[in-house]
Structures are given as C-alpha cells and as structure tokens.
Symmetry: C2
Subunit: 341 residues, 2 copies
DNA sequence: GGTGCTTGCTAAATCGGATGAATCCATGAT
DNA sequence: ATCATGGATTCATCCGATTTAGCAAGCACC
C-alpha cells in the first residue's frame, strides 16, 4: 500500500501523487481528482518515515519539560499537542526530571528523530547542547526563561507583572504584613518572582521582614514546610503569596493544621492557576498563566508552514505573556484586629 | 554525517557499520573497534527515519489516552516514557478527549508514524480501528478495559478487588450506611466499580439505599454535585466511597461547605491515589493503582527486543494488577451517635 | 587437491516517498 | 508555419539507513 500503487491506479507517476498530496505544484483539477479517488479507494496514507527521509522534514516537534507529573505541565503539553496536530505535526515529549544528564539524553533523542523544532520549558540548558540545534538549523524556543538566549527565541511569562498584580490586590485589601513563599532560588524563574515581591514592598514603602520570606521547592511539601517556618517564627503576616500554586496548597495545609482560617485570619494567593486551585477549600486566588497561549506562541514560532504568514510570524524572536489575576475565596480584607495582634 | 562517512573513515562498507551498531552479525573484534572509533570521532548517530524506512521498525510506541489533563494520567505517561527510553524507544502520545472522532485521527497518526506497538487507555475503540493494527501486525494492549478484546492483550486493574478492600476497611470501622459516588456509568470501567460496591453491600448483608448511590463524572465538579444530591436527600451515610479521587475531592468540598467534618462526621474514601490526594485536608484514604506497574506491563507486552526473554514475556496476553489500600486521615470509626442520627 | 563449512566482509538492491530537471503538449504570438 | 511560453506531467535521482546475496579467505577433513 504505497505511493506506487496509488500512482498505478490513477494512471499517473508517483511524482504527481506526491504533488497532489502535498500541494507542492500545480496539478490539473481532473488529474488531482483521479489521484484523490485512488487514495480514497486504497485507503492510503503516506509513510511519514519515508517522507521525512526524502524531504528532510520529520513533522515532529520536540517538547522538553521538567516533569509531566507537575500539574503545571499537562495543560501545556496538551495545548502544544493540539496545535501541532491541527497542523498535521506530531510531538515528542521528554522529561528531564530536573537532571542535566537526562537533559543531554533528551537532546540526543530529539536530534536522532530529526525534529523540526524544539520547545523547552525547564531550568537551564548548557550552551554546547543548544549549539547542536543551531548547527542543524533547528529552531529552538525557550519558554519561561527570563534571560534572552542567543540562537533561540523566547516566550516568557511576565512574572514580575503578575506578582505586582497580586500585591496590588493584597494592598487594596489593606494588607501590609505580607509573606512570600518562594520557589527554589537556584532557579532564575523563581528568583524573578521573589525579587518582584521585594520590589513591590519597597514601592509601597513597606519594610520587608526577613522572617516572612521563606524558600520552598515549588511543590506541596516545600510550601507546607516554608509556611510552618513562618508560623514558628512567632510573628504572623496577614497574607502570604506563594511562588506557585502547589506551594500555596502546601501553605494552606499548614495553616489549616495550625487552626487558622483562610481568608478570615490570613489571606493566601498562588501563582499558575493549575486546575486544582479552583477546587481547594477555600478556592485559591491566584495568577493565571495562560498555558494555551504559551503553547501556541511557542509552536507558531517553531512551525514554518508553506504559507508566508507563518514564516512572517516566526520572525518575532521574543514574546511576553501576561498572567491574569483570578480572584477566588482565599483572599479577603485584612481584619484590623488580626493585623494588630 | 551519515553512515557512509563512518564507513569511509573506518575503511569498511556501510553494511559493516550497520552491523556493528545493531549487533546483527559477527564482526571481528578489530574491525568493530575501528568502526566504533570512527563513530566516536565523527559523533555519529544514525538517522532514525532512515533506519525505520529500511528496517520497518520505527522505535516508536503509541500511547493513546483520554486526556493528559486528568491527573491520573501524567504518572502513567511518565512511567511509560521512562521504560521506553530505557529501551532506546520513543513514545508518541495522543489524547482522544473522550471523542471517537479524535480517536480515529489518533489511530491514523499512529499508523502513519509506523509505531511498533500501541497502548490504549481510554474508553472503547471501534473494531474497524483495531483491525488496522491487526492487519499490520502491530501489537496492541488495552489498559483498563474490563472485557477481553480479540486481537489485543489487556492489562486491567482489578477494580472489584479494590472496592472490596475499601469496603472491608469501612466495615471494619463499623460503617453500615455507606454511599457511593460513581463515575459516568456509560464507561464500563466505572460500572465495574459501581457493581462491585453493590455486591459488597449484599455480601455483608446490608440493604443498599438508592439515595446513597449517585452518578458523577470522574471529575471534581461531578463529585461535588453527586455528594450534594446525597446531602439534599436528607438522609446521611456515615461514609462515602468515590469511584476516583477527583470525585472524592469534589465530595469533600461539598461536605466541607455543608459544615460536616471529615472523618469525624463522615468518612470519605477515593480510588486511584493521585499525587494530590496525599495533600488534601484531611489527606485522602484511597486505593493506589500502581501506575508504574501498569505502564511497565503494557510496554513489556508490546516491546519485542532482540533477546528471547522479551519475546517470551510478551506472550502472556492478559495481565491483572491489584490496587492497594492506602489509609490516610479521611476515614475513621463510625461514631454511634452520628450513625443513629 | 578437492569439497564443504565458517567467518568476515562488500556491493547492490531496497524501503517509500520528495524533488529538481527534463519533457510533453497546447496555446498564442510573430 | 515557426517559435516562444508556460502549465502539466514524468524521469531520474536522492535521502540514509537495513538487508540480502554473494564472494573470498581460512580451515578441516578425507
């Protein structure tokens, strides 16, 4: 069931069949129709491996992430896959597990499969690995990397603006004693958020209390532990912001165990808007990172279709995406009584 | 940078290089060494597309799931990917979104990419689609399908045994008035659980109250709604079992809103043990479905390596996996006072 | 010395499409 | 009538590996 069979049935050459399928050259309407009928009748679809070999394009796009088990990623993966499939492309997913060694293995897999582009959302990537892609003219886009990377496009989330929105929200609710549960500070994307927090406090003329800033690990357990440290410090903020939702969920657990009510006693605000945050009790106020948009931007930046538009669009090398404040039930007015305690 | 370059450098033919790489025939030690040096020196790795075309094996395994956004799946996907990569294979993920039309598109993608095997974990698959794989001798394994499928292996979770364990646990805690929040009853894998529940009650000689059994949708919102219906019915069970953890989480939300304490007023038990269930308040007692084992069994069933062992192992057509009860804080002794209320 | 069997390797066909160059054909211009 | 034009199609080659058939050398045996 190959292209030759189709060609014979339609009484044309294989080249014509190929051209009808790909629309790469003008074929007369009747011939095209004959070919299409033959394809239909034989239930033929081309072997992508053969196509990739002949054309150099594999129709595969790599997506390197840290860990699909982190609830932030599935929606991103799904969106990325959706758009890819819409364009007749497939995706190859790879988890690095935050491990540089595995990152190297991932890159090699991508190269072997001859991906047409790679989107990367995980900590840092060593230069020599990136060069592999550059040398082969494989477009690369980093998602979520604050710094600009040579030889690659970036689409970053404007974390600072997000933190600012959150802080404005808290300030408008009369909060002044605000804590921050950061992500692992070794990650620059986590540092951006922590720094933005400090900046916001300064802008509002509030002195920051070092006890109120604790490092977590962007996971539930780290959030719980970080919150516990604040609780143990003796002095309580009226609100805490977490570097991501998992951290916030952990923090809420610690607060709950300490017998504190959210939001009456203390407000909590997260970051990311993972699906589950709508279902915690109380539902978590957070910053929505538009993952669909993130994925679409990344894919379009990589994809070079046959039409001009795509190519034109792909020229923009730096994209920024704005998070959006989602107000739910975990934040409320700072009660005077409490804040004076 | 292709096999010819390596062959020239090692002063052998491309066939010899191929054999050294794949170990498909005897090559003298010195020649092999020369070839390996050349490969090293040129930093060569074979083009998988070319290899797939020549050998018929793509080294790609398909994994068709409903929706990676459902927290049940990421761990499965990750495990599957891990084992595949360990064996030098890659995976192609496809979401059906519970939509038969998309299912067909997924199958076609798999066929075009010439996958070497397909693992399927989603509702049902039409026969004519399955036949596509059978005709091409592509092994297929269904995960989570209760019924045996002709022309495919299966690895199913013993849901009935899981429900039984949960019920035994509840009975041992003196619960008699037990509710059940099912999944969508159109799904046979959900029906299995609902039926097992009824059977368990009967075995323990307890009459089931129809008001206590409500249909959900295996998602948080459906669980919340189903629990609400029980609450609205006026009569309260002392414990509820949910068909999966998301349903249980929704139910806990509804109970929380109704001012009921878990587990003091009512016990809740889930199914699946998604990661988050350890972090709900209270932490959810549930049945762990060993996803890693599920993924491994599925992959091994599909993979046919070069050695005999793999082939032998792949002969077993039906596998069953046992869930395991994980007792956390959401279940406790039924209080006399309450249960008599 | 011939026969048969290994071992170690090569040349060439093959997989299934993509694609640049060449050809064919109809039309219109000169 | 001749030729240029350009649209439609075919031819031949290529992509980069795998794999089959086959050859040559070495060895044992009678």
């Amino acid at each position: 069931m190959n292209i030759t069979a189709v060609a014979q049935r339609a009484r044309v050459s294989t080249a014509t069949v190929s051209r009808v399928i790909n629309g790469t050259a003008i074929v007369s309407a009747e011939t095209a129709e004959r070919v299409r009928e033959a394809i239909e009748a034989l239930n033929f679809y081309p072997d992508i491996n053969a196509r990739a070999l002949g054309s150099g394009r594999s129709g595969l796009y790599g997506l390197i992430i840290s860990d699909i088990t982190n609830p932030y990623f599935p929606e991103l993966v799904k969106s990325f896959e959706d758009i890819a499939v819409e364009h007749g492309q497939d995706i190859l997913i790879a988890n690095t597990d935050y491990d540089p060694k595995r990152m190297e293995a991932c890159v090699i897999r991508m190269l072997q499969r001859k991906v047409d582009g790679v989107a990367i959302m995980t900590s840092e990537m060593e230069d020599h690995l990136l060069r592999n892609f550059n040398n082969r003219q494989i477009p690369v886009i980093f998602m979520d990397t604050p710094k600009t990377v040579r030889g690659a496009s970036t689409v970053r989330v404007d974390y600072a603006a997000g933190v600012q929105q959150a802080m404005d929200h808290l300030f408008s609710l009369n909060h002044r004693r605000i804590g921050f549960l950061s992500g692992p500070l070794a990650l620059s994307s986590a540092r951006v958020r922590a720094d933005a927090f400090t900046d916001c406090l300064r802008e509002h003329g509030v002195a920051s209390d070092p006890r109120f800033v604790q490092e977590g690990d962007h996971r539930v357990e780290g959030g719980r532990a970080a919150m516990q440290r604040i609780l143990d410090s003796g002095k309580l903020p009226t609100a805490v912001m977490a570097s991501n939702d998992l951290t916030a969920i952990g923090a809420m657990g610690a607060l709950h165990d300490a017998g504190l009510r959210i939001p009456e006693d203390i407000s909590v605000i997260g970051f990311d808007d993972i699906e589950l945050s709508a279902y915690t009790r109380p539902a978590l106020t957070t910053l929505q990172v538009p993952r669909r948009e993130l994925a679409e931007t990344a894919f379009r930046s990589l994809y070079r279709g046959r039409n001009e538009e795509d190519v034109k669009r792909s020229l923009k090398r730096e994209h920024v995406i704005q998070p959006k404040l989602i107000i739910r039930q975990s934040t409320a007015l700072a009660s005077k009584a409490r804040s004076a305690k």
